[in-house]
């Protein structure tokens, strides 16, 4: 079963096709096009609100950066709009040299203040190993929650009310809700069972943090939703204007993320992350379906890229060939339901999270996924 418009298929959970053979993800994309039309006025209005909220403060907004093209372009956009930004990078120690150089280049060129939140490597690697040994599909969960906590921490340190997100549904797409799950209790449970070090300092976003930061009134809008965001144009623009460097593919700026998205998910779980991206590009008219299908026939990573990534992962995490083979064996598989999580708490607190989603204090997708259980 596959969508006739994009390249979503059975590997996407709950792939509901309509009478025309078009999937629910395409319909969501169309809904989002209506909700977030390309509009200079709306972008200016958002910039105005952000700048207004930053009066008498050193910064108007926090922007999380990775050295990738979306967050780098968002910095440029903020600069053009006159938003005074504090750039924050959550550094889990797996960044590529290109990503580091890109962050240094763009922040200096635009005169943007920057903080690199480098967390304890022993704890990060212990979390990564714990998730790999648990055979779950959420081996990136700790990174995502660590990133969010660092962004909120930076925002509250300065009393900043806006965290601008560099996501673009027109080029990155919307990952299927069933592909990943994350919450602080889940991560602690998995780590308690399989971790190799004590979690003493890791910035893990817990339920209390989520509620606390939500009540603080920090908003997390996505400015790239309001522009005609073209992936190829942005890449060329950044390369030409700022000496920014392309790292070879979406999410390849971080070795662990590249491993997780393009090797672990594909080989163990059967998820091809490119389908999300290509589907989004098809829906927004930046790629045609035939080209996407042809590209999907190509290997995700080149032999050299794969060898480099695997050798770094095995070496740094101390995984021998047998252990790694066991981790990658699709037979060994567990889900979040095998571990204690906050799911019951999210459901009990549904009205609170609904109100927070309505006031843009948490992303709509969080409410839909964790509270409503879509």
């Amino acid at each position: 079963m596959e969508c006739k418009r994009c390249v979503s298929d059975d590997s996407f959970p709950n792939l509901a096709l309509d009478g025309n053979g078009v999937c629910g993800y395409c319909r969501t994309h169309s809904d989002m096009e209506e909700a977030y039309p390309v509009s200079e006025d709306k972008l200016e209005a958002l910039a105005g609100e952000t700048i207004q909220s930053g009066m008498n403060k050193p910064f108007d907004a926090v922007v999380g950066i990775s050295g990738g093209k979306d967050s780098s372009y968002l910095l440029y956009l903020c600069h053009e709009l006159g938003i005074r930004v504090l750039a924050v990078h959550y550094d889990n120690g797996w960044d590529t040299a290109i990503a580091k150089t890109n962050m240094a280049t763009i922040t200096e060129a635009l005169g943007i203040s920057f903080i690199n939140y480098k967390v304890d490597q022993i704890e990060v690697d212990s979390l990564i190993k714990a998730f790999l040994f648990s055979f779950t599909q959420d081996a990136e969960a700790a990174t995502d929650l660590g990133l969010v906590k660092c962004l909120f921490h930076a925002a509250t340190s300065y009393g900043i009310k806006y965290i601008l997100d560099g996501h673009s549904f027109r080029t990155e797409g919307i990952a299927p809700l069933g592909w990943s799950y994350m919450d602080g209790r889940y991560i602690r449970s998995v780590h308690k069972a399989h971790g190799t070090a004590r979690l003493r300092t890791y910035p893990l976003l817990g339920l209390a943090d989520q509620v606390w930061y939500g009540l603080k009134g920090i908003k997390r809008p996505r400015p790239l939703y309001y522009i005609d965001y073209n992936s190829d144009y942005v890449r060329t623009f950044l390369e030409k204007e700022y000496g920014w460097k392309w790292y070879g593919g979406h999410h390849l700026e971080n070795t662990y993320t590249a491993f997780f998205d393009y090797y672990y998910r594909f080989n163990k779980l059967g998820y091809d992350g490119r389908k999300v991206e290509y589907s989004a590009l098809i829906r927004s008219g930046q790629m045609n379906r035939e080209d996407a299908l042809n590209l999907l026939k190509e290997p995700i990573l080149t032999k050299e890229q794969q060898d480099n990534i695997l050798s770094e992962i095995k070496e740094r995490l101390g995984l021998t060939g047998d252990v790694f083979a066991r981790i990658m064996n699709p037979i060994y598989r567990m889900t979040k339901d095998d571990w204690p999580t906050y799911r019951i708490h999210f459901k009990l607190l549904k009205p609170l999270f609904w109100a927070m989603a309505k006031t843009k204090r948490i992303p709509d997708s969080f409410y839909l996924k964790y509270c409503k259980g879509v």
Binding site: P58, F59, A87, D91, G93, D95, A97, K100, T101, M103, A104, T105, T107, E108, G111, I112, S113, F114, I115, N116, Y117, K118, V119, D120, Q121, E123, K149, C150, H153, A154, S157, Y158, R200, T201, Y202, P203, G243, K245
Partner: protein, 162 residues
């Protein structure tokens, strides 16, 4: 001509940046203030906190430093703060602004590199206000030179990790 710079160790008391030889008087946390009043010259790759100077109670060099807090007031210039390491990991870019970043609740800022050996300079904290020599380095472009009269006042709280 050169910038007027000064370093003031706030904690431990009576500490001047290095322990007297054979004196086992190490501390775990250090607070140090750096001031600069620029004549437009700027600083290039200046080691501000040298890891190998901060001896533990046993007189050993800490494995690494962890930054717990940065309080800053920068005016008229940009201060690039890096770890001294193989890759010159960036800690922060401070433009003209004032702020307090307390990282203690998040476990502090760590260095993203492993010590290749006994390099005493590794893991130290360095400042740049003129030229950026980041990493391996594709970026070697001069920053805007500090304006004459520009200044910074930056206080670090660091933890020595043994």
């Amino acid at each position: 001509m050169a910038d007027q710079v000064n370093t003031k160790w706030i904690y431990p008391p009576n500490f001047d940046g290095t322990f007297p030889v054979d004196t086992p008087c190490g501390h775990k946390r250090y607070t140090v203030n750096f001031g600069c009043f620029s004549d437009g010259t700027g600083e290039e790759d200046v080691t501000k906190i040298r890891r190998s100077d901060l001896l533990s109670i046993e007189g050993t060099v800490p494995k690494s430093l962890v930054i717990e807090k940065i309080e800053y007031d920068v005016s008229g210039m940009t201060v690039l703060i890096d770890w001294s390491s193989n890759t010159d990991d960036r800690i922060a870019v401070l433009n003209a602004s004032t702020g307090i970043m307390d990282f203690a609740a998040l476990g502090g800022l760590h260095i993203n590199d492993t010590n290749p050996g006994d390099d005493p300079e590794w893991g130290s904290i360095i400042f740049n206000t003129t030229t950026d020599t980041f990493g391996s380095s594709d970026i070697d472009e001069p920053l805007d030179a500090p304006d004459p009269g520009s200044s910074y006042n930056i206080t670090f709280t660091v933890r020595a990790k043994s």
